[in-house]
Subunit: 359 residues, 2 copies
DNA sequence: ATTTTTATTGGAAGGGCTTCCAAGAAGTTA
DNA sequence: TAACTTCTTGGAAGCCCTTCCAATAAAAAT
């Protein structure tokens, strides 16, 4: 049924080796032979069999991405970078969404099956120790994004510095009663951002009021979710009149949830409470969030680059790439805009009114 | 290096056929042999080679999803359903993000390479005619989601009815000066929703004022984007005092953009302009959008089911599944809330309020 | 005890490609 | 012209499985 190189070889009156060489751009094929073969291949509508190639070549031209399932826009934006880069080098992407921590092992196992993929990009979750131990036996490169393990290549963001910058921005706006809402500190980024927050206050000799720090104990997505943000803010609102005038929130999605909670109480952002968050997902713009931008798209691209490099040089020492997040000033922090450009203005209103049109 | 069934056969002192049978749960293997083989396999940490299996079995246990690249949350929510279902049946998912219409052909070609995938799920875009013609030569099942072609299985939503329901909801609230913002009518859903809108007005003998209809000519994502919605509303605002008091917008993302434009002019939703949109992406909740819900997650799952069925019965007539979208009443339409409890609104209400999509 | 049936097993063939080796053709050099 | 290189080519072997067939062993029936 399907056309194979044998069919082509027969029709073109050449050997299968020659046909193969033509398709692999091997230099030692005369122009005439090449053209003859290509003509026949085209006529028969030949398509190489990817699995047969994979088996013979001992590689798959496929990478796997293991991602905590995309309820979270942060991952999607990274994934975009991954996808674009991957298809630009002619590879395929196998996607593993992990809905529950238990599935991590299963995903890793499936992906690390011999000959399944040529590399794994592992996102945000803590790499299980069991895997780290076994890994040396496999020959598959793996790169971590938004998570860290000293034995592997990783691409992360300077969470500490970023948190510090965010907090200092609030300080620079004159706030002294500053709080923080953090995701579950079982997650490294959450924990480190909290440390950065503390450090910033300390640096400016502002006393840390522990009651101003709400640590989420939500486990789903490690608390990097709107719900978690909403709940945390509800909790913080119990502070009543001593509510902080400014809050650093460990992610944009949480900030969005937190804003909902504030709105419920009739509090306005930034007038009553100034907010700075982290990530700069696309939505941050809608909500006018001042936030620490992570170059997510770029991180995705780099992950692919790095895995390719790692394949070429498996024994090099693990590389750690860290990005410095960038402060993006919008409206939620209440900073004066130097240039009131329209786009930002648009979203300013959303924060206060549109999302809850009526109550 | 890598362990093969030959290694296991040797160690376990059995034949390779027996080893294979053990792993394929073939019934005719004695318990002792099976256990012996499994023990050795475990000891050697055997992993079957997926490509070799694929080659021998003539199938891949992999599906491809071809998706307009996910700037649009609508797709992501469908993709979640797809992913969950796919991994629940032990298959893998190859993801093709299409950033530009030109890439559609390339993606289809790659996916339809012999032996690459066992099925294709194709989203939202118009299937190229060239492919439709060639398709019969391939033996790969394909199912369309959110797009239609009479020769293929498809899963869509009743856009006409949905648009009509949405519009009638506005009519039922007493509006008579009703407008519509639609995405690019090159997209079928956009066009059909417009037709439904017209039909609803006609049915209630409200004259259609063409100036109240803004058709986006944005090509990116066929105008199903925030920017497109923003621009369209800017356009509509030129109507000045004769601005419609209610607007049906062909998607949630556009509605979000449109609301921004309204806010800019100091207009409030729903007080000044009532809005109903379409999709019910997760964000709709946040913006309090009254919208027509599409069961996206479910559509994703069904797509997988259907492709499995189609594999079993390739010659059956194409099946067309259509969901009736459901009106979800929130705030943007100005309808009275039954329970003004804002907490419910933020988190739980929508979930309980809306029945599961019917089959 | 003998024949028939059924359960288990080994391993060749085959799936479609790449790659290596050997051989023949063509081109160089002296 | 002879001896040596360099190109080009065909096809066997190998990648790792599944599956089928034939063979053997065990169980059942006579």
């Amino acid at each position: 049924m399907a056309i194979t190189i044998y069919d082509i070889a027969r029709e073109a009156k050449v050997g299968i080796g020659t046909v193969s060489r033509v398709f692999n751009s091997h230099p030692n094929v005369t122009k005439e032979t090449r053209e003859k073969v290509l003509a026949v291949a085209k006529r028969l509508n030949y398509q190489p069999h990817v699995y047969a190639q994979g088996l013979a070549r001992q590689r798959t031209n496929t990478f796997a991405a293991i991602i905590p399932f995309f309820t979270n826009y942060f991952f999607i934006e990274i994934l975009q970078g991954v996808q674009e880069k991957i298809s630009s080098i002619g590879f395929d992407l196998i996607l593993h969404g992990v809905n529950h921590p238990d599935e991590i092992d299963e995903s890793l196992r499936r992906s690390s099956r011999r000959g399944r993929v040529d590399g794994i990009i592992f996102f945000s979750m803590r790499l299980p120790d069991t895997f780290a131990k076994k890994w040396k036996d496999l020959e598959i490169p793996i790169v971590l994004v938004d998570t860290f393990h000293e034995e592997f290549d990783s691409i992360t963001v300077e969470n500490f510095q970023g948190a510090q910058t965010a907090t200092e921005h609030l300080i620079s706006l004159g706030h002294t009663n500053i709080g923080m809402i953090t995701a579950n500190v079982k997650s490294d980024p959450a924990r480190i951002r909290l440390e950065g927050f503390r450090a910033a206050l300390k640096k400016h000799t502002i006393e840390v009021n522990e009651r101003n720090i709400i640590v989420s104990d939500v486990t789903k997505l490690d608390g990097f979710s709107r719900d978690a943000g909403y709940l945390a803010m509800k909790e913080m609102l119990k502070l009543g009149t001593s509510l902080p005038t400014a809050i650093f929130i460990s992610s944009d999605v949480q900030a969005i949830g937190a804003i909902s909670a504030l709105r419920e109480k009739g509090l306005r952002v930034p007038d009553d409470v100034a907010i700075v968050s982290f990530d700069d997902i696309e939505l941050a713009q809608h909500f006018g969030l001042t936030t620490m931008r992570q170059p997510m798209h770029r991180m995705g691209e780099l992950a692919v680059d790095q895995i390719v490099k790692r394949k070429q040089n498996p024994s090099a020492l693990p590389i750690q790439m860290r990005f410095m997040p960038e402060l993006v000033v919008r409206q939620s922090c209440g900073a004066k805009k130097i240039s009131p450009n329209i786009e930002d203005y648009v979203h300013h209103k959303d924060i206060n009114e549109v999302a809850a049109p009526h109550d």
